[in-house]
């Protein structure tokens, strides 16, 4: 299997076919082939052949797709980053990964404008264990960590996901996840590999439902790939139904726990569309389990199952001593198999803590509670302070560390405010070092502004509560439970 050869082959078979559509811009397979070759040649001339990572900065731009494929052709792994991330966060990623280049959308355009097509261009060979991409996720100490995914992992994933979800040349995938979130790997690569079309939904469209629904209506999407949170957002409007996207044959939801009420609503409003739930951390390449959620499944199980492991991958349930629990008992979900990442880039300490070898294969401690029932795996929450907020994976410690780094903070605790089973928004409880003359509102706005220089917008708490001191537990730590109770 050669992903690049397969994608390039579509430029011969269907040169005019749209490979990626985003914000009114389109990229055909022929354009993808020519432009990625031009950019890859530039990268091969500009950088040594050293597998060093390249940061690609943008937001759902078609130039990012060109950049990803160009990196693969030039023998460099890429790190996708959102262009609205704060400068400091981008710098931390560049430094941690020791990236050799940062390619912005504008830079890619400049290179392509000035480059000539070389008809004799040959991509560099990639070995199976060469890193293909690196995705940075929130880290508990305030610094993000980069998950390294080799070529073989991506190939394994495609070998499973493409037939499992019947992706063909006629498939039009509607992709919501930003490229910094690995759910987007499914929509991008399944689509490009099979010669289909990816229609991206942008941040601005999501912020304005009117605009979003216009895109959905005109998408002709046959497959929907998103977080459950995004589906929930669309379901808030009654017009979101089969009439809006009559071509849709499949929902593929992943990235966070899927609430039964979302399933009930989707099956009711899209009676002809299949609904699939998938599970898998970034550390195990997009997804490792999946299952079709039917009315029968919903009638029988709550929570909704995350399904069956992909072939070749084992999902094990271990106790706190890392030993298998008895069948049906609750424990930590361990993923073992070829799709497990090789670790976090330049962080052997974190890698050693989270990854281990089991029966000659790579294994990963997910930190997720789970259990087996009727042959399927069920997710039962987190073991630590990692949460999913509207689909984003966030370590509460990441926000707290960044809050502590602000000028006038003595102590800070972040509490997710729950709505039913899912986190609705974040509240920050703050003790200030010195009292200011400003109102609480002014203090909150000043802190939000300062935080926006350090962490992405989706991590900034909605509410700030200023206290002279925190209630304490008997261990002398801030009592999170009591703080959460004040928000009820």
């Amino acid at each position: 299997m050669d992903i690049i050869k397969q994608i390039d082959h579509w430029a011969q078979v269907q040169p005019e076919k749209v490979a990626h559509k985003s914000s009114g811009q389109t990229l055909s397979y022929q354009e993808l082939f020519i432009q990625s070759n031009k950019l890859a040649e530039y990268l091969m001339q500009a950088l040594p052949n050293d597998n060093s990572p390249i940061v690609i900065l943008g937001h759902k731009h078609i130039e990012m797709t060109i950049g990803f494929i160009a990196c693969a052709k030039s023998g460099h792994p890429y790190i996708p980053l959102e262009n609205y991330f704060p400068e400091q966060r981008i710098k931390t990623v560049v430094d941690t990964a020791q990236a050799s280049m940062v390619l912005t959308v504008e830079k890619i355009r400049d290179v392509l404008d000035g480059a000539k097509e070389n008809l004799n261009f040959t991509p560099r060979e990639r070995k199976q264990d060469d890193a293909w991409y690196i995705i940075f996720t929130s880290g508990s100490t305030g610094n993000p960590k980069g998950v390294v995914i080799p070529r073989s992992n991506l190939e394994n994933f495609l070998n499973w996901a493409v037939p499992e979800h019947k992706v063909t040349r006629d498939t039009v995938i509607l992709g919501q996840a930003p490229f910094t979130f690995d759910v987007s790997i499914l929509d991008l690569y399944c689509s490009l590999y099979q010669g289909g079309t990816l229609v991206s939904v942008t941040k601005d469209e999501i912020a304005n439902l009117k605009e979003l629904f216009h895109t959905l209506k005109n998408s002709n999407a046959t497959m929907w790939v998103s977080t459950p949170s995004f589906a929930r957002l669309c379901l808030m409007d009654q017009s979101f139904s089969e009439d809006m996207i009559p071509t849709l044959s499949r929902f593929w939801l992943a990235g966070e726990a899927l609430a039964p009420e979302i399933c009930v609503d989707l099956l009711k409003r899209f009676p002809k569309t299949e609904l699939w739930n998938a599970y898998g951390p970034t550390e195990a390449t997009v997804a490792t389990t999946s299952v079709e959620i039917t009315k029968d499944i919903l009638a029988k199980y709550n929570p909704v199952p995350i399904g069956y492991a992909m072939p070749g991958t084992q999902i094990l349930i271990h106790d706190q001593d890392n030993r298998p629990v008895l069948s049906g008992e609750r424990g930590e979900i361990i993923i073992c198999g070829p799709n497990v990442s090789v670790g976090y880039i330049n962080r052997p300490d974190l890698t050693e803590r989270a990854f281990f070898e089991l029966n000659g294969q790579r294994a990963y401690h997910t930190g997720d509670w789970g259990r087996y029932k009727d042959g399927m795996v069920f997710y039962e929450g987190r073991m630590d302070f990692q949460i999913k907020l509207h689909g984003y994976r966030i370590e509460l410690g990441d926000i707290e560390s960044n809050l502590h780094a602000l000028t006038n903070i003595q102590d800070a605790v972040i509490i997710p405010v729950m709505k039913g089973e899912h986190a609705d928004y974040l509240a920050a409880f703050v003790i200030m070092k010195t009292k200011t003359d400003q109102s609480d509102f002014e203090n909150m706005q000043a802190m939000k502004k300062e935080l926006a220089q350090r962490i992405p917008e989706y991590m900034i708490p909605r509410k700030f509560i200023f206290l002279p001191e925190f209630p304490m537990t008997s261990n002398g730590k801030a009592d999170r439970r009591k703080l959460a109770e004040t928000l009820q």
């Binding site: 439902l209 009117k210 949170s229 808030m236 609705d424 609480d440 509102f441 917008e457 909605r462 700030f464």
Partner: protein
């Protein structure tokens, strides 16, 4: 309860600050007081309270950018109903 009071009560709940009462022209999105999910929930809450047929997909974000704009929007829709 008046339109003003109902809108402000909901806004206070969603934004977590009474500043929305003190400054009716505050930019709710620009000041990061409302995100897209909260704004949709606000549309649904006001739709229910005033028995108006408001669909989140029909509401332009610019028309809901400040407390005053929301109050004006609801008043206008209530008159039409």
């Amino acid at each position: 309860m008046s339109v003003n009071e109902t809108v402000l009560k909901h806004l206070e709940r969603f934004t977590g600050t009474d500043q929305v009462r003190k400054d009716l022209n505050i930019d709710l999105f620009g000041e990061r007081l409302l995100d897209s999910l909260a704004s949709i929930e606000l549309v649904l809450a006001l739709s229910e309270d005033f028995s108006l047929d408001l669909a989140p997909g029909d509401v332009d974000r610019d028309e809901w950018a400040t407390p005053q704009k929301i109050i004006d929007y609801i008043n206008a829709r209530a008159k039409q109903a």
